[in-house]
């Protein structure tokens, strides 16, 4: 503390001197600072925009759960083009209940597996209609894809064993289908069945990855679904009816920890490959996606950083240029100070602080600009931006650094002037 006070009382007069020097040449100082203002401003703004873009992607991946492995059924691509006969045929593909059992029993590190069947069905309530994604699943679904319960309850084991006609809706679906009426206990028609609404959960929207939850979902007990709808599904297409038989649309495999996720995914793939001759499944590992997204983000940051670095370099060179001109202009003053008894190091400190006042002043103004730009972008374009607190610290550090680096040469040049020569300078 004492040391700090000591060194502050040594530097304070120089800081004041530097500040008054800057103030004496207002216009020039302002123009010199502009380089720093935009350099620092662009660092903060670019980081905020970059962070905003990747933040969204990362969030949606994170929501999938970093301990999970998502295995989904995909329709295999047929070798020959579809004929009328083919399209009328029943397409059988995808994951089976047996697959779930095999994964649970043979893959090491599995905590639980959650099966689900997803089919788009028409939902009806009185006059209203809405196409929903009906998810036939088990209660533990809500453990691996957690989200807040807004009203009522989620599915439970009782619903399973009694094959109850109950459903849990998402907030969005409820708003669309039931409007403002009392929701719990109402009956809605899903396809050929009538279901009692027992709960509402919050839905998360957006996300580029195959999210297990969507905006308008209806969750029903798996046994109820199989009982009511079976596993075959038909939908009209041009020139006929396409029927397919898919036992499970998705198996969510929850591992015991993030460290076994990647090995687990490989094991799952090996197990499935043995029993699936066709490529009718797909494995997504949110953790890998997360890592990939983070890697992309890092690359992105490096590119942005390089661009920002160049603009700071330009700003710094501008400052150095002005300081060199200032040293020449103030040659006589330097001579006088030296003649009176100022050591070389005092002259260095004076000019260095002078440069730092310029660069830090520019840096602080740049901070304001850098915060204002992302806010304006978000305001006018609704593009998300995240202003990083560390980027402000970084910008401040950079402006001090630029001041020292680009101020050093002019300052050393000022100090190395011969006093007598400097005094004779007109």
């Amino acid at each position: 503390m004492y040391r700090l006070k000591q060194s502050l009382s040594f530097y304070w007069p120089f800081i004041r001197l530097g500040a008054t020097d800057v103030w004496r040449h207002k216009t020039r100082s302002f123009l010199t600072m502009l380089g720093m203002v935009f350099g620092v401003g662009s660092v903060i703004a670019m980081l905020a925009v970059g962070e905003g873009a990747s933040h969204q992607a990362l969030e949606s991946i994170k929501r999938l759960g970093s301990q999970n492995i998502m295995v989904s059924s995909v329709k295999p691509t047929s070798e020959d083009g579809p004929t009328a006969q083919q399209s009328a045929r029943l397409a059988v593909y995808g994951l089976l209940y047996d697959d779930e059992t095999r994964i649970r029993e043979t893959v090491p590190g599995v905590e639980k597996t959650v099966p689900a069947r997803m089919v788009r069905r028409n939902a009806r309530y009185n006059e209203r209609q809405l196409e929903l994604r009906v998810v036939e699943t088990v209660p533990s679904w809500f453990e691996v894809v957690p989200r807040p319960i807004l009203a009522g309850r989620i599915l439970n084991e009782g619903d399973m064993s009694s094959r109850a006609n109950v459903c849990v809706l998402t907030e969005f679906g409820v708003r669309k289908l039931l409007a403002a009426e009392e929701v719990l206990g109402q009956h809605v028609r899903l396809g050929s069945g009538v279901f009692e609404v027992v709960g509402i959960v919050k839905n998360e929207s957006g996300g580029s990855v195959r999210a297990p939850d969507s905006e308008a979902d209806a969750y029903i007990p798996m046994p109820t679904g199989s009982n009511l709808f079976g596993v075959a599904n038909s939908r009209p297409i041009s020139g006929g009816i396409e029927s397919e038989r898919v036992e499970l649309s998705q198996i969510i495999v929850k591992m015991t920890g993030t460290d076994v996720v990647e090995a687990g995914a490989k094991a799952v793939e090996a197990v499935l490959k043995r029993f699936h001759k066709k490529a009718d499944f797909k494995i997504d590992v949110p953790l890998s996606l997360l890592r990939e997204a983070e890697k992309t983000k890092r690359t992105y940051n490096i590119v942005l950083g390089a661009i920002a670095g160049i603009s700071l370099l330009v700003g710094g060179i501008g400052i150095m240029n002005i300081m060199l001109a200032s040293v020449t202009e103030r040659t006589k003053e330097i001579g006088i100070r030296r003649a009176v008894g100022a050591r070389k190091s005092r002259i260095v400190v004076q000019f260095l602080i002078n440069t730092c006042v310029l660069s830090i002043g520019g840096g602080l103004a740049g901070l304001v600009v850098g915060v204002a730009i992302p806010i304006a972008i978000t305001f006018f374009t609704a593009m998300p931006t995240v202003i990083q607190p560390y980027s402000m610290l970084l910008a401040f550090g950079i402006s001090v650094g630029v001041g020292i680096v680009f101020g050093l040469y002019p300052a050393l040049r000022a100090a190395s002037l011969d006093p007598i020569e400097a005094l004779r300078h007109e």
Partner: protein, 227 residues
């Protein structure tokens, strides 16, 4: 011996300008003791300012020895010379050399800034000195707003700011009327009586009369030296 503030032995200062050698000082030897009052005289261009610059540790001799308080200046570091100027020397330059961007008050304060004198004390002392040279009514003015004689008086006040043991003045009354001249000379006389060493370059016989030792320089050589 230990009284010797300055000792010059065959000091030369040559400039080479366009292949030609200008012998500004061409073999000067003399000794100045503590508490003496010296006047240096000589025609224009004879090398008086050059000599004073060397005495003031601003310039180094081309050849010859210069002893400062018993130490050979040639062996002193730049920082040591700076500190010597700061602590022991007061310099009134022939062309004043005030910092144009600073006010009268700030100019007088400047040496004390490097001595680490606190701001309040600096201002107080600078004001006292300004009063001594009758410049206290122009404290907030810039040098460019002053007359030649006024600038000269500010330069004198600045030279005294560090309470120097040795005062070097290069024609300190060159721009002053006889009344102000006398005031400045009385100031120097007071310093001399306080035991300070005073070295003045002058053309005026009046001032020369104050001094106790005299040097006349011509063409870079000492013509006469009376102690």
């Amino acid at each position: 011996m230990d009284n010797e503030v300055v000792k010059l032995r065959d000091v030369k200062r040559h400039y080479s300008v366009g292949g030609e050698t200008v012998r500004a000082l061409d073999g000067v030897s003399f000794t100045i003791r503590r508490g003496e009052y010296w006047a240096i005289m000589g025609p224009s261009g004879s090398g008086k300012s050059t000599l004073l610059n060397i005495l003031g540790c601003l310039d180094r001799p081309t050849s010859g020895e210069y002893w400062l308080n018993g130490v050979n200046v040639a062996q002193m570091e730049d920082d040591e010379l700076s500190d010597h100027r700061l602590k022991n020397l007061g310099f009134v330059f022939q062309s004043f050399h005030l910092i144009p961007q600073l006010t009268v008050l700030e100019n007088i304060e400047m040496p004390m800034f490097y001595l680490g004198v606190p701001q309040a004390e600096r201002t107080r002392r600078a004001k006292t000195l300004a009063e001594r040279v009758e410049m206290d009514h122009r404290l907030q003015h810039l040098p460019s707003e002053l007359s030649g004689g006024q600038r000269q008086r500010v330069a004198v006040a600045r030279a005294l700011a560090n309470d120097p043991a040795v005062l070097l003045a290069d024609e300190p009354t060159g721009n002053l009327d006889s009344k102000t001249s006398v005031q400045i000379m009385q100031l120097f006389q007071e310093l001399y009586e306080q035991g300070k060493t005073v070295i003045v370059v002058t053309h005026e016989p009046d001032i020369d009369a104050y001094a106790h030792s005299h040097i006349v320089v011509k063409d870079g050589r000492i013509l006469t030296c009376t102690v």
